[in-house]
């Protein structure tokens, strides 16, 4: 899910942050244990969220141990281990990374992706054997997405649908059943849609430059993409052309902003409602932070064209706090 789902760090308690780190490290260790050391390079914070929300639905306490790791060999860190939610998140993380690499080889013919996907292939096969229906759902929805992208579809709702369905299928772990599963699926649908659209909006610039498909470009500027073919590198583009590209980027951003903002807010509203219906057994405050602060913060940052910030230092700025929802006064 490309790392958009994160808590707003300045509002976290220290113990909450280290617990979240513990889940992240737990997923990384689980990847190494279950799918081999190379797969540990694929770990993302999205997988930590996946492990965290599924674990929050069960009453069992986390099994936390202090362990060292290669990135930080001197100081042992708390990690959450041998947790079914963490193992599940590791599996999903792996399969998503595998398809992402395959996709980037297909699109960009980047030889590193080919090599990396080749390395991950046996692990991906093992994952598909352990969770066959998850593997099938991911493959099916990504196939649908590829068809829509090839058709250059222009409806934002339609294009974001397969990815939303994908997240809806992977968000609830196998141990989540019944009513809670239905709620998690709806939360996942809206989260997936949110992620897809946030990603499309922040990629407008690079997609225009590379001539890649992007639903927002297709809808709002049908003649923007072939401004210059991708074979010409940025160095050779003369100034006039670059200005033309700049204006088309900002015009697409402006034209699409209202619709993008509307859909994103609708998704956030539904995520919030679904969250209220979940029976959260532990760690509720951190999940509240992600859902009511982290996601809106990312949304505002991205709409204002500052998608790259991670909310660490910027979160303390007055403007950033206003963007994140409400002005908290202060001096």
């Amino acid at each position: 899910m490309f790392g958009y789902v994160q808590p707003l760090k300045p509002e976290l308690k220290v113990k909450e942050f280290s617990l979240y780190r513990g889940y992240y490290c737990g997923v990384c260790k689980a990847l190494g244990r279950l799918y081999g050391q190379p797969s540990r390079f694929t770990v993302t914070y999205d997988a930590a969220f996946l492990a965290f929300i599924n674990s929050a639905l069960t009453e069992d306490e986390e099994n936390i141990s202090l362990e060292r790791c290669a990135v930080n060999p001197l100081r042992p860190k708390p990690i959450v281990s041998f947790d079914p939610a963490v193992n599940y998140a590791a599996a999903v993380n792996l399969i998503m990374a595998y398809y992402k690499l395959k996709d980037s080889w297909h699109d960009e013919k980047n030889s590193f992706s080919l090599l990396a996907s080749w390395v991950l292939r046996p692990s991906a096969m093992r994952m598909k054997k352990a969770y066959p229906e998850i593997g099938d759902a991911v493959a099916k929805q990504l196939g649908r997405l590829a068809i829509l992208e090839a058709e250059k579809a222009t409806s934002i709702d339609e294009v974001s649908h397969p990815f939303a369905k994908l997240i809806s299928a992977v968000l609830p772990a196998p141990h989540v059943k019944g009513r809670q599963r239905r709620v998690m699926e709806w939360l996942g649908y809206n989260l997936g849609k949110w992620v897809y659209i946030v990603d499309a909006y922040s990629d407008i610039e690079s997609d225009i430059a590379s001539g890649s498909y992007n639903v927002l470009i297709a809808k709002y500027e049908k003649d923007a993409s072939p401004l210059f073919p991708s074979s010409i590198t940025a160095v050779h583009v003369n100034r006039q052309q670059r200005e033309k590209v700049d204006t088309s980027i900002s015009s697409i951003r402006e034209k699409s902003k209202a619709e993008v903002e509307f859909i994103l807010n609708a998704c956030l509203a539904e995520i919030g409602k679904a969250f209220e219906l979940l029976d959260i057994k532990k760690n509720g405050a951190l999940l509240e932070n992600i859902i009511y602060l982290g996601l809106p913060y990312k949304t505002q940052m991205m709409l204002n064209g500052r998608g790259e910030s991670d909310g660490s230092i910027q979160g303390f700025g007055r403007k950033a706090r206003c963007n994140a929802g409400g002005d908290k006064g202060g001096l």
């Binding site: 509002e11 409806s155 934002i156 709702d157 339609e158 649908h161 939303a164 009513r179 239905r182 709620v183 699926e185 709806w186 649908y189 809206n190 849609k193 619709e259 509307f262 859909i263 807010n265 609708a266 998704c267 956030l268 509203a269 539904e270 919030g272 409602k273 679904a274 209220e276 219906l277 509240e288 009511y292 602060l293 809106p296 929802g325 409400g326 908290k328 006064g329 202060g330 001096l331």
Partner: protein, 197 residues
């Protein structure tokens, strides 16, 4: 219901009121969550009735289900679509609807409701808006559009709620600043509020 054993009737009533507010199905209208909220509401009602020691439905929330059973148009096909929607088979309802050539206001309304349910917010908004524009006097269409917009805008209110209740340390600074101002004002007038400064 989240009350301690041996809670008083007042405490139970208070907890009940809070839960009714939280799980009221109207807050979750339009999507799959509505049914889940109804189930939760049902459980809360049962727990409340057991705790209060009577089985009458007096004073407890009762379901005012919004049905799609309204039969305004004489066109039979729309009734079949509404029937599918009523039993929760939205996929089949959409197939039926897509086969209809005659795109009246009712068609746009029903399609809008189905898209809303599916999570296609931008499309749902424009279909519902079209239905209202085509037939501005129809209360049902206008009501659906209002409910849709209300449901989308609710997020902002929730956010403000979170901010009000979250821990906030700036109040202390504000209090100091106000005391300082009050002290300065008093000193201007010849008095003194805080003798130390």
């Amino acid at each position: 219901m989240g009350v301690r054993p041996g809670a008083t009737q007042e405490e139970i009533k208070e907890a009940y009121r809070k839960l009714v507010k939280k799980y009221h199905p109207d807050r979750f209208a339009g999507t799959d969550l509505e049914e889940v909220a109804k189930e939760k509401m049902q459980e809360v009602n049962e727990a409340y009735e057991i705790l209060m020691g009577h089985r009458s439905n007096n004073g407890s929330y009762s379901d005012s289900s919004s049905s799609y059973g309204y039969s305004g148009g004489s066109v039979n096909i729309f009734q079949r679509v509404r029937e599918r929607m009523r039993v929760g088979d939205f996929a089949q309802a959409e197939v039926l609807l897509d086969n209809i050539r005659d795109r009246s206001a009712e068609w746009y309304y029903l399609k809008g409701i189905i898209l809303w349910r599916k999570g296609w917010y931008s499309e749902a908004s424009s279909y519902l808006q079209t239905a209202v524009n085509m037939d501005p006097s129809n209360f049902e269409y206008r009501d659906a559009l209002d409910r849709f917009n209300d449901s989308v805008n609710r997020y902002r209110q929730q956010q403000q709620y979170y901010h009000r209740t979250s821990r906030d340390d700036s109040d202390c600074c504000r209090l100091c600043a106000m005391l300082y101002c009050a002290d300065c004002l008093c000193e201007c007038m010849g008095g003194d509020l805080l003798t130390c400064c």
